[in-house]
């Protein structure tokens, strides 16, 4: 397609439709009945730092600040990223189309004068926004509460770590979101592919270097401000540079969303008989 042809496309219309869809889907993702599970995951994430704040008192920590920060990094890696963000992304993005199909309301979208590609883009973007809003907020709160338990001064000193973790959450939602948007369009039962992807992600530390590259977590590792210990059996591999990780994940997400758009163009729905 030439530049002239690209310019001739109805971008203002698509932008308007994208924004309308984005607003509609964001409302649904944040306030719909399916948001309850996401909030449940978020509440689980907040529980340990809240307990730490309430039960542990300044000056009574048996460990140093550096080991506490290491503990927070592990907490983020395993409870926030690999558990809550992963499961939350499965739920949010697999339900972008499947949820409407189960509610028997998907046809209203497909009967609107909107390109299926715009439909996928709007739903995906709303999913990313909802996922980041919820899990970014709990990440922020968890770190703030954690550092606050060491006093406001500690929060001021260690606060520089928080934007890195927020960026990791955003990239995770972008990456997993693209994977599960496509998965939701390809599979009638998304549970099995979700478990398979979870297994690949969980096995990442033990995979040889070249296989690590097929997982989302490998690219997210590049942004970790505090390295984590993945155990004695982990195969250590240097994470990619930050720029490559960000661009690589964005490119991967773009390809997956494009595949989801192609799939959506062929999407059929038949709820019942004649």
């Amino acid at each position: 397609m030439t530049t002239t042809e690209l310019r001739a496309l109805p971008w203002p219309l698509w932008r308007e439709q994208f924004l309308a869809l984005f607003r509609l889907e964001l409302r649904k993702a944040l306030f719909g009945k399916r948001a309850l599970l996401v909030y449940g995951l978020a509440a689980l994430v907040l529980l340990p730092p809240l307990l730490h704040l309430l039960l542990g008192r300044d000056g009574e920590h048996g460990d140093s600040l550096s080991s506490f920060t290491q503990g927070l990094a592990n907490f983020f890696e395993f409870l926030v990223l690999r558990f809550a963000v992963f499961l939350g992304s499965v739920w949010i993005f697999m339900n972008l189309f499947r949820g409407d199909l189960l509610d028997r309301t998907l046809h209203y979208y497909l009967l609107a004068p909107i390109r299926r590609e715009v439909l996928v883009a709007g739903k995906y973007a709303a999913g990313v926004a909802a996922g980041w809003l919820v899990f970014g907020t709990v990440t922020l709160l968890a770190f703030v509460l954690g550092f606050l338990s060491w006093g406001p001064g500690t929060l001021a000193r260690q606060g520089y770590l928080i934007p890195w973790y927020l960026a990791i959450v955003l990239l995770a939602v972008v990456g997993y979101g693209a994977v599960f948007t496509l998965g939701g369009l390809l599979f009638r039962n998304p549970l099995l592919p979700a478990v398979a992807i979870w297994a690949v992600e969980a096995a990442n530390p033990f995979l040889p270097g070249f296989l690590k590259q097929i997982s989302v977590i490998h690219y997210l590792n590049a942004l970790r401000p505090v390295p984590i210990n993945e155990g004695p059996f982990a195969i250590v591999a240097d994470p990619p540079p930050v720029w490559l990780a960000v661009l690589g994940l964005a490119a991967l997400a773009a390809v997956l969303v494009w595949l989801a758009m192609l799939r959506a163009r062929r999407l059929e729905i038949a709820y019942g008989g004649d």
């Binding site: 439709q17 869809l21 059929e268 038949a270």
Partner: protein, 336 residues
């Protein structure tokens, strides 16, 4: 539907597009088949539907909803092609600026009110929220839901939900309005209102394509019918003309006269007459004949000879129901 004909595997294919009309004015199916895995949805359907009210008639599983799904891109044909006013259903961004589809799916997004439902989905047209709100208010007025606009749609009666969906389908002022079982569940008043609305749409030169298994409704409403059974088009065209095509189908005629017994006895001896029975009110009788042309020719002579006074001669079963029953019971699938 250029000419009434019985379609299907054994019948000669109708011309896909009548020469008198441009493809851009028609809903055209060209040799369309749809299979759900091994299950047949519709098979080798060739139709060209002109403006006016067209009824798709058939029992459950006949293929009515499949045809509607194919017209609107909710389904993709396994073979053949479909165009609506020259637009492929694979291009919803063009199609649904000219087509509205009122499905029979009775679900609404959880928590949606009548107004928020319309505003949400109208805003996807990309004409701005202000337009969507204004249009939603107009449509709520038009379908008689203004008072209930801010109540949850899930709490509406079946008729109200039907009218709400109809409002969404009509909102784009479509040239082609497709309705799956549109009168289902409506009370008599709402039914009359919807029928009037559909007739108004058709009078303004639009396509109104509706499905029903309540044959009487379709017969009253439709300018033309497409009879479906088990995925095949059994017959299509103007209902009287379809009937006329069926030479082998015994025609039942009601004759109102002053001497029914005498005249019935005379007519019983005619070739092709297979049954004669008196009307319950004794003011006439029914004749069933296999050769309508010869019967009417002979009837004139017999009436003149007998001196009976004829008040009325009318087909007694020239409706969709009788045509449909005949076609289905006689092998369906377009067996000629």
């Amino acid at each position: 539907m250029s000419s009434p004909h019985r379609a299907g595997a054994a019948a000669p294919a109708a011309p896909a597009v009548p020469v008198s009309r441009h493809r851009d004015e028609l809903v055209v199916f060209e040799n369309v088949s749809k299979f759900y895995g091994e299950t047949l949805g519709v098979n080798r359907v060739t139709l060209a539907i002109p403006p006016g009210i067209t009824g798709l008639v058939g029992p459950n599983g006949a293929g009515k909803s499949t045809l509607m799904g194919l017209m609107t891109g909710l389904l993709r044909p396994s073979a053949g092609s479909v165009t609506v006013l020259g637009i492929s259903p694979a291009h919803p961004e063009q199609l649904f600026r000219r087509v509205g589809f009122c499905t029979q799916q009775d679900a609404f997004p959880p928590g949606a009110t009548g107004r928020s439902f319309l505003v949400s989905f109208l805003s996807l047209a990309g004409r701005g929220t202000a337009w969507a709100k204004e249009r939603a208010a107009e449509m709520l007025d038009q379908v008689g839901l203004r008072e209930a606009a801010d109540r949850r749609a899930a709490g509406y009666s079946k008729g109200m939900r039907q009218r709400l969906r109809l409002g969404l389908a009509l909102a784009a002022d479509p040239q082609v309005l497709i309705l799956d079982e549109p009168l289902n569940g409506l009370d008599p008043l709402a039914r009359a209102e919807v029928i009037a609305l559909l007739q108004e749409q058709a009078r303004s030169g639009r396509h109104v394509i509706l499905s029903s298994h309540i044959l009487h409704e379709v017969d009253l409403l439709s300018d033309q019918v497409v009879l479906l059974n088990e995925g095949y088009v059994v017959a299509e065209g103007n209902i009287q003309a379809v009937r006329g095509e069926m030479h082998r189908h015994p025609l039942q005629v009601l004759i109102r006269c002053d001497a029914p017994q005498r005249l019935a006895t005379r007519l019983m001896g005619l070739d092709g007459v297979v049954e004669v029975k008196l009307h319950p009110d004794k003011g006439g009788f029914f004749v069933r004949t296999e050769d309508a042309d010869s019967f009417f020719y002979a009837l004139n002579g017999i009436v003149l000879e007998s001196g009976a006074r004829i008040d009325a001669v009318a087909p007694a079963d020239d409706d969709v129901q009788s045509v449909y029953q005949y076609l289905i019971q006689n092998g369906g699938r377009g067996a000629a």
